[in-house]
Amino acid sequence: MTTLPSRRQARRHVLPGLPLTLGYATLYLSLIVLIPLAALILKAATLGADGFLDAVTSPRVLAALRVSFFTALAASLINVPIGLTIAWTLTRYRVPGRRLIDALIDLPFALPTAVAGITLTTLLAPNGWLGAPLAEAGIRVAYTPLGIIVALTFIGLPFVVRSLQPVLEDLGPEPEEAARSLGATPTQTFWRVTLPALYPALLSGFTLALARTVGEYGSVVFISGNLPFKTEIAPLLIVGKLEQYDYAGAAAVAVAMLVISVALLLAANTAQARLSRRGER
């Protein structure tokens, strides 16, 4: 058995450096993350419970939260099959240019979101390279929820692909061969054996993409059209409230978003832990 990380020692750690590194990490974490977040929550608290509820349950806020979560959810869901396809190809086939594609996957990650937003808008506007043919077909992308979903799909893609790749690589042909030797068809093998083995990774990729895209701002403002009740996202609402000098209101919306994303993240993490616990060797 490995005697790795779960070791509690009453007196002294043999490896040095715990007090130093833990101390530094905690201090830094507090300074950069915790104290500012506390300020946020305190600010929201100045509204009082009723004020807070009023602020976050106004129809416009609710609508914006709905848009944010709906589009992020949709984009993350779309990314599941897309990410799976790409990750599958990258790990299972020796495609020419595989290296290049593999490198490109991280582009949305490295490309500034504002640049991504402007570029996607230019592409998808009714007079853009892609927008024009689509418009002819009667499909409007830019300035509709669809546009937001496209932008968020772009932003979220690497998370799904990168979560899947190592697992796919690790999977090995054996369970699939076992299924084939037991008489399963390739289709049955995929749906019943391969895909279930990927659930934990898919879920974690999905969650990461969701967490990242729910709060995305830079790329969305350009393409969304920002129509209240339709394509206005929650981060924009926060900015809007700031413009009106409504700090407490902005903080309230921020806290609402924070709570929802953290809850989502925790729920997904728990589900993922359960999935992978039963699956680990």
Binding site: E174, A178, A179, G183
Partner: protein
């Protein structure tokens, strides 16, 4: 069902994994494929299972040519070296898988499946673990699940790739006994891969020794052990002392085939006892000979060893030996 493999050849790139392998496994036998790592044992098993297509040669099962049949159509059960259990399914679901994926009329009812799976699980003594996931089982238990899963589709042939490879000594022994017993009960033609000679000698009806993609020797355990056809087989099946060697020939002796006496005897050579180690029924003696002759290891029944002690001069002669030409090893 008998297995016939005829003149199978298989290349991976420029590397020849199997070359001209012909093998007949009669119905109901338990055959061991024995050989060093990389000698092609797994590859042959995979060819028989249809998981690998041979470059040349044919595979017949029960006289029927299945060279181009898919793995699902051959009626084989395959037990993988690392079990390859479906991690996201319970033990029950793992075993039931092969039945559930059957199509149309061939698919048994849920009740039949349930009954059959539970019967198999009690056969492998794991009925209590039906609802567990593979991760909650020990290595030996997982191995038994893998076996039950392979047996569920009522294979005509059972193929096992190093079924005990990843287990520790005690569990290995237990499963070995158990596999032998199971085979006695079910009489399914079985081929298993191992690189452990003791395992092969102990449970197989026949042993096939592999070396570098070819069959080196084939026969009953007794045949193979007592009449190794080459120095390779000799060395692979147990400890070997080099009794003497020259440019053309080499004479090999097993440690228990060395006879020691305190007095000179005809054909015996002088040697000195360097170390005596006695454990259980056998004593091991290390002997050094004069000149640059290789030192020897002798195994004696414990009761015979009292006569000897470290430092003593003794005279050694082989009671059995094998001579091989050097090029053949």
């Amino acid at each position: 069902m008998s297995i016939d493999v005829t003149q199978i050849g298989k290349q991976f790139g420029t590397f020849t994994a199997l070359s001209d392998v012909t093998l007949h496994v009669p119905d109901g036998q338990l055959v061991a494929l024995l050989g060093p790592s990389g000698s092609g044992k797994t590859t042959l098993l995979r060819v028989i299972a249809g998981l690998e297509t041979p470059d040349t040669g044919r595979v017949h099962l029960a006289g029927q040519d299945v060279t181009h049949a898919g793995p699902g159509e051959r009626g084989i059960g395959f037990v993988f070296q690392h079990y390859a259990l479906f991690k996201h399914m319970t033990v029950f679901e793992n075993v039931a898988f092969g039945l559930k994926v059957k199509r149309g009329a061939a698919r048994p009812t849920a009740a039949t499946i349930r009954e059959k799976v539970m019967r198999l699980l009690s056969l492998v003594q794991l009925d209590w673990a039906a609802a567990r996931y593979p991760s909650q089982l020990s290595g030996g238990q997982r191995q038994r699940v893998a076996l039950a899963r392979a047996l569920a589709v009522e294979p005509r042939v059972l193929l096992l790739d190093e079924p005990f490879g990843a287990l520790d000594a005690a569990v290995r022994q237990e499963l070995r006994d158990w596999l032998r017993q199971l085979h006695n009960e079910l009489h399914v033609t079985s081929v298993f891969v191992t690189h452990d000679q003791e395992e092969a000698l102990e449970i197989a009806d026949r042993i096939v020794v592999f070396n570098a993609g070819r069959i080196e020797q084939e026969g009953t355990p007794g045949d193979v052990y007592h009449h190794p056809a080459s120095a390779f087989t000799y060395r692979f099946l147990g400890r070997a002392n080099v009794w003497q060697t020259d440019a053309r020939e080499q004479t090999l002796v097993r440690p228990h085939d060395l006879h020691l006496s305190p007095e000179p005897a005809p054909g015996a050579v002088p040697a000195q006892i360097v170390r005596v180690h006695q454990v259980g029924p056998t004593a091991r003696l290390e002997l050094s000979r004069a000149g640059d002759l290789p030192s020897l290891e002798a195994h004696l029944p414990a009761r015979d060893v009292q006569a000897f002690q470290v430092g003593q001069q003794v005279y050694v002669s082989p009671t059995a030996q094998q001579t091989y030409s050097v090029t053949s090893s």
